[in-house]
C-alpha cells in the first residue's frame, strides 16, 4: 500500500497518532505537502463523508477522522503556508443572534475544514452586521448561518438583506441550515443554498465557492 493510501486509511479509522507520523514520513520521503494534503488527508476525508452520507458510519466516526485529519494538518500547515498553497476558500460561519445552539454549526465547521476550507467561526449569538463585517474584512466567499429556533431564523434574512444593501451579494454567497430551516425557507429569504446536514453543507459550499 502506498504511503498516501495508508494515510487515507488511518484517517478513516480515526487514528490520530498514526496520521501525523505517516504525514511526516511521506514528507521525509520527498512527497510534496500539497500531494499529501490532497491525495492523503482530503482523499480520506472524502471517503469518510461518503460513508457518513450513506449511513455506513455514524457521527463519532466522522469526528474521530476529522481529529486525525487535523493532527495531520498540523504537520503540513507550515509547509503549505511556505509553499503559498491557498485553501479552497474562506468561509465565515456562526449561529445567528439569539441562538445558543452551536453543535450543528460546529459540525459543519469541522467538516468544512476537513474538506480544505479556511473556516472563521464566529461562535453563537452572532448579529447580522458581524457576519457581514467579518466576511468583508477577511474577504470570505461564503457566509454559513445556523439556527435551531424559529424565533432566530429571521436573522438569516437580515444577513442576506444586508449583503444586498452593501452590494456584496454576488461576491459573498450564503448558506443556511439547522433543524427548523428548509430549502423553501432558504429560497424565500434569498439565501444561495441550504444544507440539510453537515455533509450536504460541504457539498453546497464547494459549489458556492466554485471549489
Amino acid at each position: 500500500m502506498s504511503i498516501l493510501n495508508e494515510i487515507s486509511q488511518r484517517l478513516e479509522e480515526g487514528d490520530d497518532a498514526a496520521v501525523p507520523r505517516l504525514v511526516g514520513e511521506a514528507l521525509a520521503g520527498g512527497l510534496a505537502a500539497k500531494a499529501v494534503l490532497d491525495d492523503g488527508l482530503i482523499a480520506g476525508m472524502n471517503v469518510v463523508g461518503g460513508r457518513f452520507r450513506d449511513r455506513e458510519i455514524f457521527l463519532p466516526d466522522v469526528l474521530l477522522a476529522a481529529r486525525a485529519m487535523y493532527a495531520g494538518l498540523d504537520v503540513l500547515k507550515p509547509l503549505l503556508e511556505r509553499a503559498g498553497v491557498a485553501s479552497r476558500g474562506r468561509v465565515v460561519i456562526g449561529s445567528v443572534h439569539g441562538d445558543l445552539h452551536d453543535i450543528g454549526k460546529n459540525l459543519v465547521g469541522i467538516m468544512l475544514k476537513g474538506a480544505g476550507f479556511e473556516v472563521i467561526d464566529l461562535g453563537h449569538d452572532v448579529p447580522a452586521a458581524r457576519f457581514v463585517a467579518v466576511a468583508r474584512e477577511r474577504d470570505a466567499r461564503v457566509i454559513g448561518m445556523s439556527a435551531l429556533l424559529t424565533t432566530t431564523m429571521p436573522v438569516m434574512k437580515e444577513v442576506v438583506d444586508l449583503l444586498a444593501r452593501e452590494n456584496l451579494r454576488g461576491r459573498v454567497r450564503t448558506i443556511v441550515g439547522g433543524a427548523p430551516v428548509s430549502a423553501e425557507y432558504a429560497a424565500e429569504i434569498g439565501a444561495d443554498a441550504y444544507g440539510y446536514d453537515c455533509a450536504q453543507a460541504v457539498e453546497r459550499v464547494k459549489e458556492l465557492a466554485g471549489a
Binding site: 479509522e13 458510519i57 455514524f58 463519532p60 474521530l64 481529529r67 445558543l100 469541522i110
Partner: protein
C-alpha cells in the same frame, strides 16, 4: 419537588448511539465506543440536575398557555389540558458545569464534545420521563376514573404551543431559583434544560385524533407516538 439523581437520568448507550445516527444493526467502532464510555463518565461527574414544579389549575394554565398569543390556531394542547385531572408547571436543568465542559471540549476534543452533548441531550429528555412518572405516582383524586392516569410533558416550542410561551411559563414558575435564565429568543441557559406543563389524567385525553398542519414540519414526532399508545377517547 421532584428528586433527580444523575443515575436515573443517565441515558442507555443504545439511545445515545441512535441519537448520534448509528443505524440499527451496524456495529459501532471500538474508538467510538471508547468515546461513549468517556462521555458517560464525564456526565456522571458533572451533571447537577435540579427541577422546579408548581401545581396550577386549568384556569391558571389558560393564561400561561395563551402567552403572547403566538400559538397555532388549532393547538392540540388547547383541547387536552382542560380535560386533565392535574397540571404542574415544570422546568429542569442539568446545570452549568456540564454545558461548560461541552463548550470547552468543542474547542479541543470535539469528538468527545459531540458525544457528551448527545449524552446530555438524552439525559434532559429522560428528565421529562422521570417527571411524568413522578406525576403518575401521585394519588388519583376520586380514584380510578377512566383507569390509571397517564402524564405527558407538553413544552413551549412543540405541538403548536409557540416557543414565546416560555415567557409566561417563566413568569408563573420562576425557574431562575434553580439557575435557569431565559434570553430574548426564549432560549434557556444552561442549554441542557427543558420546560413545560405536566398534564396528568385518563390516558385517552392525550390521544390526538386530527393531524395538524405543523406536524408536517415537525422533526420530533414524540407526541404522535405517545398518542398512538393512548387508547381512543
Amino acid at each position: 419537588m421532584i428528586h433527580f439523581s444523575p443515575a436515573e437520568l443517565e441515558p442507555a448507550p443504545a439511545a445515545v448511539r441512535a441519537a448520534l445516527g448509528l443505524k440499527r444493526g451496524v456495529e459501532p467502532s471500538p474508538r467510538s465506543e471508547e468515546l461513549l464510555r468517556r462521555a458517560l463518565d464525564l456526565f456522571r461527574g458533572l451533571a447537577a440536575p435540579a427541577a422546579v414544579v408548581k401545581p396550577v389549575t386549568a384556569e391558571e394554565f389558560a393564561t400561561v398557555f395563551a402567552g403572547r398569543g403566538g400559538n397555532e390556531p388549532r393547538a392540540p394542547l388547547a383541547g387536552i389540558y382542560p380535560r386533565a385531572g392535574r397540571l404542574h408547571l415544570f422546568a429542569f436543568t442539568l446545570g452549568e458545569p456540564l454545558g461548560a465542559e461541552i463548550g470547552r471540549l468543542f474547542a479541543g476534543d470535539f469528538a468527545l464534545g459531540a458525544v457528551l452533548d448527545a449524552v446530555a441531550s438524552q439525559a434532559a429528555e429522560n428528565a421529562a420521563r422521570v417527571a411524568e412518572r413522578w406525576s403518575e405516582s401521585l394519588p388519583v383524586p376520586g380514584a380510578g376514573d377512566g383507569g390509571p392516569w397517564r402524564c405527558f410533558l407538553y413544552s413551549p416550542g412543540y405541538c403548536g404551543w409557540h416557543v414565546s410561551g416560555q415567557e409566561a411559563l417563566f413568569a408563573a414558575l420562576r425557574p431562575e431559583t434553580i439557575g435557569i435564565r431565559l434570553n430574548a429568543s426564549f432560549l434557556m441557559t444552561p442549554l441542557k434544560s427543558v420546560s413545560g406543563v405536566l398534564v396528568a389524567g385518563p390516558a385517552a385525553i392525550h390521544r390526538l385524533e386530527a393531524s395538524y398542519p405543523f406536524c408536517a414540519r415537525c422533526t420530533s414526532p414524540a407526541c404522535q407516538e405517545r398518542s398512538l399508545a393512548a387508547p381512543p377517547a
